[in-house]
């Protein structure tokens, strides 16, 4: 109970919590919070609030913001509370401030001074609280105000302070790398700190630093390996153990660092092999945390210079992950497989069925991960299957974010590996049709350019074939309703350029289609513009070819409509069209040359062709041209701007300003001058450091984003630059592998096909049929087995595997259906309604949840009734009840153990007798809660449920 410390909170607070806890809908919660805002505004404006009251108000303000409402009216009170002497109040103040304000908020400047004072405190807990605040509130401008003190605290005698000082520096590094660039050596020093907590914290900044610049930290490989070894050998205090693993979170961080350091570095990697092998051997693969460490080991093994033995155990671990029942492990397995196939591509083959199972799993997370894997292993032999699957999936989902991503991946894969022009055009059509409004317009422009330029080969016939097939498919599609705008633009452009190029279609046919499209999308100006320009091109090609142009009536009406359009752009296009049609063939040929979209147009930026005209005008007495910057009116503005800019470069000054010299008044704005006395900093030298970091900050963010980019290593580019974008030496082997399979693939497909034939008429063979389908899929994805004898054994293996898998599935299905009522939730709740805040099972579940009722049964019945009737006002009764509990607790305990109730709370207690809190404590807590008026009622049974039950 000591940790509980009583509730010491006012009735008002308890009532608030109670009503929030019992709110049954978001709307009700909102009403409560709005009322609370009014109350708080009134309370906070009263003149004398005690400190402890104020702390409570702050917590209520935190609730207001947490539940989605604005509490800015009370921010200033949070700021004030940070000045308080009491540690608890101070820390609560800091907490509220960090939750309320972002680092650029105006009020922060008022706290800097307090932070500086607290950093100098004798009480190390105050220093810690201030360092916490430093990590959340100090921005680039205010770093110099606290930096010297933080650096000093790196040598503090208390390890908790050193740890937080390291993290504060880390934060400065994140915000403004330049501000701490001269302090990097401190991180190295802290890595050798006596305290494991400080050492572990130091890994965070070091990880970031190493991510940016590996080479400067190669000398630390030995240290990291040593530390990891010590951790793995349980040299750290027992309190770091988690589920019998020695400091697993530290191990994981170290493994992440090692994988950076060993990447592409044989010498460094060799130092890591032993410890990696040891950890992988010793790791407990039965626990989640053990598997988390194992997974990190695999990541590391796949990143560093390859070692056959380690790769082998990585492969073993992966197959364990994939074969397990846990979806979480399968997820990690698929992810790890994606890493490993870059080094040893042949590994994919033995997991093909597991991969396909994951691909077909109803779990979206797993499915997506598998698509990631497929994306990584795409090559020209399997691109069709993979992209088709991706597109099917893309069509089936609604999540825009992922739809966009998968669409762009489809485009990318199609561009790189397309086996034929037809397929490429068809694929692009599908992508545009179903995700056209999501894909980047760049993709559309890329497609146009690809069609226009061809694919970089000198073969002109291939290019014109591509164009013909594009035209053909677009003519088929253009009539469809609800095409995305971007796609229509592409279609119009291609039809305009190449619609009549191969002579297959007449100009009137194409123009008719274009007019229909423009009419069908009359609200889309961009499409209309593309359509009109396409019309113009087709007519001018006709004129240039010497044919007579007969404008279709619908074209004429379209042009007439556009001549009067509100859009000046459309108007201009229509007028240009009209003008061109009246010109002779020679002129048209010059204006609109055939197939010239790829030719560069020279632009005369000096407008020299106007010289004669200018000369003439000058002679007639016109004013000569004055360049913009020489014009008098504007020069002031630009000067002003540059001045303004210069002054903004100067950051806030934290040292005292010099005394004002009369008659020149100080130039600083009023806020700054008021802050002067708040933040006196003796060393001005650090101010200089803040001024440069802008550029280095940029590079950090850049490299960060590039990390998120798709991994293209080892992917052969078919089109575009004819190079390998790979750094791993394994790509070449991957390619030979691929070409080997190219030939055997058809074989395996045909053999599986014949198998389908054999069995397909047999009605009872439903299951084998599924398996052959899977095999087919596997064969097309993975290229099947490369040797025929192996193939034989494979199919056998596959069938047995899928059979067992089928059994698994039925089991799973059973489990799933039963889990609906068996329920993981201790009380028999129905499957959760989405955000339906109603509590339908309330009446039935409430009694069973209430451990208290059972105890009440043990008590005197009269006591029971008074208690029930007193309910919320139970405070005066409390002492009696408490003493009664004290008396009864023993018997209460024994009864609970004797007849364990169905709810989880008691069983939990019975199961874990060794754990600190016992029944008595639990009941006391319950009593206390009740005493303040929160009883486990029908409305809040869950509030009382043990989280670790």
């Amino acid at each position: 109970m000591s940790s509980q410390g009583g509730f010491g909170q006012s009735k008002e607070f308890l009532d608030l919590i109670k009503s929030i806890g019992e709110a049954r809908s978001k709307a009700e919660e909102d009403r409560i919070v709005l009322r609370e805002i009014d109350t708080l505004k009134a309370r906070l404006s009263s003149p004398n609030i005690t400190k402890f009251k104020l702390k409570e108000y702050l917590m209520r303000l935190i609730y207001v913001e947490m539940l989605g409402h604005d509490a800015s009216f009370g921010y200033i009170h949070a700021v004030k509370m940070t000045h308080d002497e009491s540690l608890l109040l101070k820390r609560t103040g800091y907490l509220a401030v960090t939750l309320f304000l972002n680092e650029d908020h105006d009020l922060i400047i008022l706290i800097v001074n307090t932070i500086q004072k607290d950093l100098r405190s004798d009480n190390y807990l105050v220093v810690c609280a201030a360092l916490n605040a430093v990590c959340r509130l100090i921005n680039e401008e205010t770093i110099p105000a606290v930096l010297p003190q933080v650096v000093e605290l790196l040598g503090h005698q208390k390890e908790a302070v050193r740890k937080k000082a390291v993290m504060a520096l880390h934060r400065f590094y994140q915000r403004a790398p330049g501000s701490v660039s001269h302090l990097i050596s401190n991180f190295r020093k802290r890595l050798c700190d006596n305290d494991p907590g400080v050492m572990a914290a130091t890994l965070c900044p070091l990880f970031d630093l190493i991510t940016i610049d590996v080479n400067s930290f190669k000398d630390l490989v030995v240290s990291f390996v040593n530390i990891l070894k010590q951790v793995a050998e349980r040299r750290l205090p027992k309190s770091y153990d988690y589920h019998q693993m020695p400091a697993p979170f530290i191990q994981i961080k170290l493994l992440k660092i090692l994988s950076l350091l060993g990447n592409g570095d044989k010498k460094s990697s060799e130092q890591m092999y032993t410890i990696l092998g040891d950890i992988m051997r010793k790791c407990d693969s039965a626990s989640n945390i053990g598997n988390a460490v194992l997974y990190e080991c695999i990541c590391c093994v796949c990143s560093i210079h390859p070692n056959p033995k380690l790769l082998e155990s990585a492969a073993d671990t992966i197959s364990k992950f994939l074969k397990g029942d846990s979806h979480n492990l399968k997820y990690l397995g698929i992810d790890a497989l994606g890493l490993l196939i870059r080094i040893s591509p042949e590994i994919a083959e033995q997991h093909q069925l597991a991969v396909i199972d994951c691909l077909e799993d109803p779990d979206d997370t797993l499915k997506r991960k598998t698509f990631d894997l497929l994306y990584k292993m795409t090559k020209s032999s399997n691109v069709e299957v993979i992209v088709d699957r991706m597109i099917d999936y893309m069509i089936s989902i609604n999540d825009h974010h992922y739809k966009t991503e998968i669409a762009s991946r489809c485009v990318e894969l199609a561009e790189q590996f397309a086996p034929s022009n037809q397929w490429f055009i068809q694929t692009m059509n599908k992508v545009f049709e179903h995700a056209g409004d999501l894909v980047n317009t760049k993709v559309a422009h890329n497609l146009m350019r690809l069609i226009a330029e061809g694919f970089g080969e000198d073969d002109n016939t291939a290019d014109s074939q591509l164009r013909s097939s594009a035209v053909e498919s677009y003519l088929r599609i253009i009539g469809e309703p609800k095409l995305p705008s971007t796609f229509l633009q592409v279609i119009c452009w291609v039809l305009g350029e190449y619609g009549t190029a191969d002579g297959k279609y007449s100009a009137s046919y194409i123009t008719g289609k274009l007019c229909d499209a423009a009419e069908a999308h009359s609200t889309d100006d961009t499409v209309k513009a593309y359509a009109v320009t396409a019309l113009m091109k087709i007519y001018s090609f006709e004129i240039a070819a010497g044919r007579k142009v007969d404008m279709l009536p619908e074209c004429q009406s379209l042009v007439e409509e556009l001549l009067a359009s509100h859009s000046t752009d459309l108007q201009q296009r229509a007028y240009e069209l009209q003008a061109i049609i009246c010109l002779d063939a020679h002129a048209v040929e010059n204006i609109m040359p055939m197939d010239a979209n790829c030719e560069d147009i020279e632009i005369d930026k000096n407008l020299s062709f106007l010289d004669a005209y200018v000369q003439e005008s000058l002679e007639k007495g016109a004013q000569p041209y004055i360049p913009e910057d020489e014009r008098s009116g504007l020069s002031n503005i630009s000067n002003f701007r540059s001045q303004d800019h210069e002054s903004s470069i100067h950051a806030l000054r934290f040292e005292a300003y010099e005394l004002p010299k009369f008659p020149v008044p100080p130039k600083a704005p009023s806020i700054l001058s008021s802050s002067v006395e708040l933040v006196p900093v003796p060393e001005p030298s650090y101010v200089a450091d803040v001024h440069q970091p802008a550029t280095s900050a940029l590079t950090v963010s850049n490299s960060g984003s590039s990390e998120l980019k798709l991994r293209l290593d080892g992917v052969q580019k078919k089109w575009g630059r004819p190079a390998f974008s790979s750094t791993t030496p394994s790509t070449s082997s991957g390619d030979t592998f691929e070409s080997n399979n190219g030939t055997t693939r058809h074989e395996s497909i045909s053999s599986t096909k014949s198998k389908v034939h054999d069995v397909s008429y047999d009605s009872r063979k439903l299951q084998p049929e599924i398996s052959t389908e899977k095999q087919k899929l596997a064969a097309s994805l993975f290229g099947g087995a490369s040797k025929s004898d192996r193939k034989q054994s494979y199919t056998g293996q596959k069938v047995s595997k899928t059979n067992s898998h089928g059994a698994d599935k039925s089991n799973l299905a059973k489990a799933a259906s039963s889990s609906d009522n068996a329920a993981v939730i201790p009380t028999s709740q129905p499957p959760p309604d989405l955000l339906d805040l109603g509590e339908p099972t309330v009446t039935s579940s409430a009694p069973s949840v209430d451990p208290f009722k059972q105890l009440e049964g043990l008590l005197d019945p009269t006591q029971d009734t008074t208690k029930l009737s007193s309910g919320g006002v139970g405070v005066p009764n409390a002492p009696d009840i408490m003493s009664l509990y004290a008396d009864m607790s023993l018997s209460g305990q024994s009864t609970t153990v004797a007849n364990p109730p169905p709810n989880a709370i008691k069983t939990h207690l019975a199961k874990q007798p060794s754990k600190g809190p016992n029944v008595q404590e639990f009941l006391e807590k319950d009593a206390l809660v009740r005493q303040v008026g929160v009883t486990p009622s029908g409305q809040n049974p869950n509030l009382f449920k043990d989280l670790l039950g």
Binding site: I20, L88, L99, I252, K256, A816, L834, L909
Partner: protein, 143 residues
């Protein structure tokens, strides 16, 4: 930067604790919390404990009626984060004794203090329960 936010939201979508390690406006938070909880509630126990949402990866774990949700970026070890959630719950359990949703509601600041000890700048910095709890216990004694 690893961890982007830590949330505790109950089955009815009511937020019980929210700590963001990057700045989001109140409206953005409200929308995000609603979307994520809806997503997680729609999943069953067999499915992965990980969900992608916008540019976050959400690792979640359910304790009684309370969801613990941690938003991380792509480089993070999901399973380790899942265990980190458990460590957090174990730590709270050690402090409160049979921690329940109401404990967190009544002692929101303490739950935050524990989290402050465990996560800084979006990184896991402390995983020893005694190190996490000792400053909080000392503070309680002092006041």
């Amino acid at each position: 930067m690893g961890i982007r936010f830590v949330l505790m939201v109950n089955k009815q979508g009511q937020t019980r604790l929210a700590q963001y390690y990057e700045y989001l406006t109140i409206e953005e938070r409200r929308a995000l919390e609603g979307e994520i909880v809806r997503k997680c509630l729609a999943r069953n126990e067999q499915q992965c404990s990980f969900v992608e949402h916008r540019n976050y990866k959400i690792v979640y774990r359910r304790y009684a009626s309370l969801f613990f949700l941690v938003g991380v970026d792509n480089e993070e070890n999901e399973l380790a984060i899942l265990e980190f959630i458990h460590l957090l719950v174990e730590t709270m359990d050690r402090h409160f004794g049979n921690v329940c949703e109401l404990d967190i509601m009544f002692h929101l600041e303490k739950a935050h203090f524990m989290l402050e000890e465990m996560v800084m700048n979006g990184c896991i910095v402390e995983t020893s329960k005694s190190n996490i709890l000792s400053p909080i216990q000392l503070m309680e004694k002092a006041s």
